[in-house]
Symmetry: C2
Subunit: 700 residues, 2 copies
Amino acid sequence: MNPNNTGTIEINGKEYNTFTEPPVAMAQERAKTSFPVREMTYFLDGGEKNTLKNEQIMEEIERDPLFNNDNYYDLNKEQIRELTMERVAKLSLFVRDQPEDDIKKRFALIGIADMGTYTRLGVHYGLFFGAVRGTGTAEQFGHWISKGAGDLRKFYGCFSMTELGHGSNLAGLETTAIYDEETDEFIINTPHIAATKWWIGGAAHTATHTVVFARLIVKGKDYGVKTFVVQLRNINDHSLKVGISIGDIGKKMGRDGIDNGWIQFTNVRIPRQNLLMKYTKVDREGNVTQPPLAQLTYGSLITGRVSMASDSHQVGKRFITIALRYACIRRQFSTTPGQPETKIIDYPYHQRRLLPLLAYVYALKMTADEVGALFSRTMLKMDDLKPDDKAGLNEVVSDVKELFSVSAGLKAFSTWACADVIDKTRQACGGHGYSGYNGFGQAYADWVVQCTWEGDNNILTLSAGRALIQSAVALRKGEPVGNAVSYLKRYKDLANAKLNGRSLTDPKVLVEAWEVAAGNIINRATDQYEKLIGEGLNADQAFEVLSQQRFQAAKVHTRRHLIAAFFSRIDTEAGEAIKQPLLNLALLFALWSIEEDSGLFLREGFLEPKDIDTVTELVNKYCTTVREEVIGYTDAFNLSDYFINAPIGCYDGDAYRHYFQKVNEQNPARDPRPPYYASTLKPFLFREEEDDDICELDEE
Amino acid sequence: MNPNNTGTIEINGKEYNTFTEPPVAMAQERAKTSFPVREMTYFLDGGEKNTLKNEQIMEEIERDPLFNNDNYYDLNKEQIRELTMERVAKLSLFVRDQPEDDIKKRFALIGIADMGTYTRLGVHYGLFFGAVRGTGTAEQFGHWISKGAGDLRKFYGCFSMTELGHGSNLAGLETTAIYDEETDEFIINTPHIAATKWWIGGAAHTATHTVVFARLIVKGKDYGVKTFVVQLRNINDHSLKVGISIGDIGKKMGRDGIDNGWIQFTNVRIPRQNLLMKYTKVDREGNVTQPPLAQLTYGSLITGRVSMASDSHQVGKRFITIALRYACIRRQFSTTPGQPETKIIDYPYHQRRLLPLLAYVYALKMTADEVGALFSRTMLKMDDLKPDDKAGLNEVVSDVKELFSVSAGLKAFSTWACADVIDKTRQACGGHGYSGYNGFGQAYADWVVQCTWEGDNNILTLSAGRALIQSAVALRKGEPVGNAVSYLKRYKDLANAKLNGRSLTDPKVLVEAWEVAAGNIINRATDQYEKLIGEGLNADQAFEVLSQQRFQAAKVHTRRHLIAAFFSRIDTEAGEAIKQPLLNLALLFALWSIEEDSGLFLREGFLEPKDIDTVTELVNKYCTTVREEVIGYTDAFNLSDYFINAPIGCYDGDAYRHYFQKVNEQNPARDPRPPYYASTLKPFLFREEEDDDICELDEE
Ligand SMILES: Cc1cc2nc3c(=O)[nH]c(=O)nc-3n(C[C@H](O)[C@H](O)[C@H](O)COP(=O)(O)OP(=O)(O)OC[C@H]3O[C@@H](n4cnc5c(N)ncnc54)[C@H](O)[C@@H]3O)c2cc1C
Ligand SMILES: Cc1cc2nc3c(=O)[nH]c(=O)nc-3n(C[C@H](O)[C@H](O)[C@H](O)COP(=O)(O)OP(=O)(O)OC[C@H]3O[C@@H](n4cnc5c(N)ncnc54)[C@H](O)[C@@H]3O)c2cc1C
């Protein structure tokens, strides 16, 4: 009856309609996957053992009634704050009892299902703990553990760095810590409102203690910003300590589960021992010892950046799974009259919108793992360092420097990439992507702060760009540089490299393309830098002039890193059965990256205009190839429906049924009249018009 | 005392600190503007009369207690829905009493301050009304007006097009309207769950009537999708009519003020007269007359698109104002030791992040006005059309076609641009951009649905691209084409044009650059199209193969349109005093657009690699120039603090004071213990550990 044949689909002689077909279509799609999905999961997780552990933890979370997320998207700020507190309490028990690696896995999984809880825990275990461990002595760390910081008993720490007037520029913080020699105390003070500590996660409701960043002032001399532990609330009744004012920062774009607050200190006295003294020391007489390298002090800040690269993969995989599953069951428009409508995944344009993002999400994982491992190795070295081991110290210092710049670029571009994935996958789901119950809106609002906190992405990128130029300068002087920029050494051979008819599907050639592009940008910027210095500018001024170039350098260098790490991980770790499917993704990622930035390759002369056509054809080709196994690729992420938490992205593909059901469960059919019917709607809609009450004038 | 000199600033011999300086800095910045801001406002508003009217309406809104937005960002879904209803009721009174132009102005202004209210009104006055006026006869229109549709008395209309399973593909909708000759009625029915009307704004709480898109079936023959008016609720008690089921769609990413619902029809009988019969007619005997051109039926859909281009400007100007004002008072990092920290607006990189967006927001206005005028002219022609005026009909049909494709591309790229403006300006404000009280989060969540509804942006773009290829095909056959693509006529002269040493600051050259780029893309795609047709594909199939090219074509063509319209409006309307400031913006916009898409111009050979360096230098140069007068450019938008609704973006620049105050007003200092202290926090944080209760075994 319907000439557009939109309603009915025949599969193996059986008829389905728009409502009943999706799960059948999903089963068909799933059957297309030719590679062993389970093996892909092991590859992604770094081995079967990890997969099994993840699955165990996922089950524990899902079964716990406290982690039921059925009404997650309908909670208001007050409700989500309380629930988050309960979840934090529950999770802290695991921290006490379980091995560190399991805890990390659990947190990472929670981070997919409930970003607020993840962060509220992170405020204490990541930021507070990290600062005390990273900048306190072993004795100090032990002291705060003995007070309850280890298992959150009579203790909850927060991290007071940012002020209303200062964020990125730590050196500009204005809170003061003046040493009072008479009493052997520091006096912590907020000089004016713009120096109020601001945004402090955990401060508004939870924290009993905080690490404070404040200017150390001894005998009138300002030693710059150092870290101190300050007690905020009295133990047991949770009232504020004398001299502490705290307010609630209230509504945020997202992450309402975290109780961000502001803190003002009014001449709060703390014992001298509360200065965290691993690097900076003040003795009873007010003698001050400064650290050998400022960056060591902030080493703990790297932790967050490294884990954000990994979070970007975790959250990205959730949303690319939803959009690709939906694309496999959603039909819209028929391209051939009389034929059923086309699945949107079969539109070449839709493939181009989503499949490069799938490849990107895979790529993020490889690089995050690589940098994560580098980070762990460096931290171990740092912990093992003997106080008088000069050579060892130098090595650690240079590793930390490398980590700083690598993690800066990676944090920035991964968190942006993930934001982009959430945004683009939402749009790829049309109107249903805008439903609260499919999770995109909430996740975007929660996610994007990752681009701002723990190092604003733009500032990180600029500083990564600065480090790249510094490396090039070092190389020119014959000094050693870190691994991440070692390709710059071969720069002279690369500078004028061209494709020259070589294959654009050869990983080596693709990596080379990116090395040429990155190398040229960095070296051109370095030329300019040296010229500016020659003209008498100081380093800061010269870098300022080159900010746009620094951004570009960091961008292209980081993309190179992602591409190289992807190919290299396939090379070293992928079994035969999954090698080709992984290569297809990696090639798609590298080629699409070139297409997106084609001006770069044309400009550098590595490619000619006709090569860009080839790149486009290849992107199309790999889209077509990857499209066939999208369900395999996304199933390999191994997220259960609990973690997906979006009815249109359910495993079984029965999207309309789950979605309709979800909407109705959360909004049970009640009175067709809204709650404000009597108060507002009725008096308006069913009003009687009043006559204009004009007094008649006797004008005759 | 502070070697970084971050805290204090000296201005005219007087010292200010981080907290007190901002308003002084703002006054200084404001004084820099060299052009007459008021004249710029007139230019933007299209004349002094419009400005005065806008100001009058703004004052009326601001003073109305019902429109007080002090706690806007803290309202939950239930509260915002009720408030929105009250505001809709209030605004409907203006619709009754005021001239159409004033109403439009009022709605547009409301759209800046409260997008939900704007849309909830729009559901009736835009969508329902538009459909009845556009596809009903004059008698039918009059009938529904007489029922109360004109002033929302005992009448509230909604618009039921989309179904759970179908959105963009109107032709695939599955709701049926079967003509029952016996009773002279249509029977409206929802055949299965996926055919449930979905997303219908106003359905859940408010609507008494709806326009339904349903398949017209007469004597077993399916005539495709037509529009019908159906009553949903009984008048006076607001209960559901027999056969109507309605549910609440609940939580959305944003726009919670609108009561979107789903509707199922179970054999609902409506009189034959409820088919909207301007184009499609069914008589008593079941004879069906079809319209001359399907597109005329959907002509009313263009209204929304045209106004969305204008909305993009309206909302974009609010957020670019906030970010630029903040950038003028926020200091972070000192570039020269001992000097005060730098205002972030003075970082070249920050200028590049924001100033091209400022130019973009200006550009949107020029094009939106131009297309708006074209639209009004066409609608007038359409209304004046005599039934037997063949020539007139042809002209209108060709105008409507042109409007369809122009408005499609413009709607897509403007709404995306505005989303980008909100997102990037938020990031430019660092952490404070994430505060609920600065409005970015709410606005983004509310805004982005504009990219999806009333024509999904991607689909619109593809269809605009299709129209461009069709125009090129027509041109090749010597047929006439619309104004918007007339530059394709000169294509042969342009195809191989190069910059050839001409100035990149000559508007003519810049417009030519974009015409060459757009022309080449369109013509290459047209070559491919003709080749595919030659190979035996039908048009749909050929267009499918060329989807990526269609997207590119629409993108570049639309950018050309924005650039050309900007220069031309300056040329024809700007007085001397504001000409240069406007040109600076337009040049920045055109040059930055080239830089962003440099691959395009290199590929087409219009520019050479060294020209790209010139473009970059010029972008830098115009950023520096425009930077000096940013406060003037943004003040010219003439939005009061009420419409800005972001303390960090206030007119007086006293950002920290307003922000601190706002946060504390909305979150008054109460108990330092959270509401869930007794229930959740205390039992956890102050728990006594239980001993592990292990039964001792007598194992000896
Ligand atoms: C939800 C949330 C939770 C947070 N939790 C905590 C917490 O628990 N503890 C804590 O201490 N902090 C916390 N923060 C603060 C966060 O770390 C800062 O917001 C972040 O570091 C950015 O600093 P800022 O906001 O001061 O931005 P700014 O440094 O003021 O930057 C503003 C803008 O200017 C640009 N800019 C600045 N300097 C330069 C330059 N030199 N060159 C070019 N551009 C420049 C930036 O890119 C940015 O766009 C939180 C923030 C948020 C939003
Ligand atoms: C908040 C809200 C309010 C709304 N209010 C109303 C209302 O009052 N009345 C009403 O009738 N509707 C309403 N809508 C529905 C809205 O108009 C539709 O969601 C919109 O038209 C998109 O249709 P869809 O969701 O079915 O997406 P689909 O058409 O299913 O598209 C899904 C995805 O597939 C892609 N795609 C589809 N076809 C193709 C193709 N041929 N080629 C390439 N890609 C393709 C699209 O780009 C999109 O990314 C509302 C929606 C929302 C979110």
